[in-house]
């Protein structure tokens, strides 16, 4: 019987205790009843999580790696229940961190991953090579006119993706429907001018889908009808289930960029939550994100180089789940770091630049062209 597996990091003083904790996780996240009352047959044989291995971590005394297998029947077909099984109640246990998930064929079939992925995005932008330039439209509190103007100027100057700030929700200063319609128009006008000028490629406008939780599909359909080419969504606020639902919706059919807001506590403590690569890489792929934003090392947030590399590796792993997706490091980046970032992250990457672009005012297009140049400069050029 095929099962998918989840690897956990467990803090425990002894091998026996680690084994007991692993068995507790296997119960907690499936049947959630004492072991002695688990009904024999289907529930015990199929539904109940099964501890496959428990071994000490080489690096750290008192740390253990446990592998627990689960059957897809405990999940069903909805992403929220997958997370219930992987780390639902176990998220409240101290000293338990989910490190990796290895899907079996049944899980892969039910959660096939990104609709576009890294390759699909390249087809959509028309950029055959090089990193993707992605300005962020902000700040909230600006009028629709101001935001649409930034969209036009950055798209016209050659941006590959024009992304709304995740804080542009549905506030009175720029209500969602009006803002998205006007910003999509602005990007369409810029793209038409680029085409008329004989430029290859076009800018994709990613609208931030933010409203009441039960309106997300309607808002996404509005964005599509208005001309948006992609969606920005915050799974830390709307749930990975919303990401999964939007990505699988045949009427929507747009690429999705996932934003990390509100997800920090899942990774910041080494003893709880998820490993960085699992949360921002593997789970984003499984849920259907095409681009995953995360805070770059050395910016305003405290991710380490190794943690960022783990995320990128999970986004690009050739064996899935689903299509490889694009990492998108952000969080206080500036133009003078772009060359270094390109050498680190390579071309299959969405390079975000937000607030620092505003220093250029009406000349923001110059900043976009500088971003392009920095990403296209080859190492020999840089050192030359």
């Amino acid at each position: 019987m095929e099962r998918f597996t989840v690897d956990y990091r467990i803090i425990a003083p002894s091998a026996d205790e680690a084994g007991a904790r692993a068995a507790a996780i296997a119960l907690e996240d499936t049947v959630e009843i004492p072991r002695d009352v688990v009904p024999a047959g289907y529930v015990e044989d199929v539904i109940l999580g099964r501890v496959e291995t428990v071994a000490p971590e080489a690096e750290t005394a008192g740390c253990w790696r446990a592998r627990i297998s689960y059957h897809v029947d405990a999940v069903g077909r909805e992403f929220a229940q997958l997370l219930n099984v992987v780390l639902g109640n176990a998220s409240i246990l101290r000293g338990v961190r989910a490190m990796a998930i290895t899907p079996d064929p049944a899980l892969r079939e039910r959660f096939p991953g990104a609709g576009f992925g890294a390759e699909g995005l390249r087809r959509l932008t028309g950029r055959a090579q090089g990193g993707h330039v992605c300005p962020v439209i902000k700040p909230q509190g600006s009028s629709v006119e101001t935001l649409a103007r930034l969209c036009y100027l950055t798209a016209r100057a050659g941006a590959d993706i024009v992304k709304e700030d995740h804080g542009l929700a549905n506030q009175d200063a720029a209500p969602f429907r009006e803002r998205v319609s006007r910003c999509a128009e602005a990007v369409a006008r810029a793209n038409a001018e680029r085409a008329a000028a004989g430029e290859t490629g076009r800018a994709l406008y990613f609208a931030n889908i933010a409203g009441h939780g039960d309106q997300l599909r309607d808002l996404a359909l509005h964005a599509k009808a208005a001309g948006a080419h992609g969606l920005l969504l915050i799974p830390g606020l709307y749930g990975f289930s919303a990401l999964h639902a939007l990505s699988r919706d045949p009427e929507i059919g747009l690429p999705i960029m996932a934003h990390p807001s509100h997800l920090g506590p899942y990774v910041l403590s080494p003893d709880t939550g998820y490993a960085h690569g699992l949360l921002f890489g593997t789970l984003m792929r499984l849920a259907g994100a095409d681009i995953t934003v995360f805070p770059n090392h050395g910016g305003r947030f405290g991710f380490s180089v190794a943690e960022c590399e783990e995320i990128v590796a999970a986004c690009r792993a050739a064996d899935g789940p689903g299509r490889a997706i694009l990492p998108s490091p952000g969080g206080g980046m500036s133009l003078d770091r772009l060359g270094e970032m390109r050498r680190h992250y390579g071309d299959d990457c969405v390079y975000l630049l937000g607030g620092s672009l505003l220093r250029y005012g009406e000349r923001i297009g110059e900043a976009i062209r500088e971003m392009r140049d920095a990403l296209d400069a080859r190492p020999e050029t840089v050192s030359g």
Copy 2:
């Protein structure tokens, strides 16, 4: 100009550094651009977060309390954006924990809180006094018949609330729509028999709303049409925005019990996320939960007595936000702890009992009656 405030615990080596970090939070969760490019006027004066005070924590060196005020215009009318402002990107900063929120009148008007609350629930159950007995229907993997049978037996024996396990989603063993219809019928039959026998009160059936993220409203409407009296929802998987949307939906109009699955990392580290009372009390009230489930101290999870008391105090605070709601401690409770729990939590509380009830098999009704007796025993009776 009225603003609401959020208190943060900040780890910093000096007062200057603490002030700088507070200013960074105020930027991060509103405009998310460098301070020097914040547009003058409305964005700077209204939208930008404002550091009101920063003071050392008496107890802990290197810890500071910062109070930051925000204007409701930065939020709009949707709950997800409220959390973006309170702790969105700041959730990824190390050493930042949201401790308390003090709503201003504008925020209270936009987020009026629970539709029923503690008093409303007492009207619905018809139980004039005493704690609420709440068996949990489980485990997943059981057939619809088995689950409906448990609903009938526990409701017939006098349960106040019959709650589905949060792991009963939409799996093939008991698909959502069929399960909810049959369980609602079973509870209705039990209630009819109770009424015919002249018993006061009735059991409320709370269906676990779990499916694709965009189906929650449809599933809730199905549950209501089938006869469910309340909804169970996991905000850690579907978002607090889903909780808020369901609680404010005039077509639904059912009380909501919020389950803590997947929320652990927000409270487990003292340096990130939310204080226990803020997450499981204040935010649940603001979002519209009527009952908030949390892991009792001394069970399978590691919450302390003080953390549980903080949650209960936040649920019951007389000054809101919104109606007082019912705390519901769970997580491995057993009959022999109920007397102690009642003395600790009092009568305005939903007492959960799950897996251990299954030991009674077909005699599970006896366990419900023992729960009732344990909750109704007064201290003098217990010691007599």
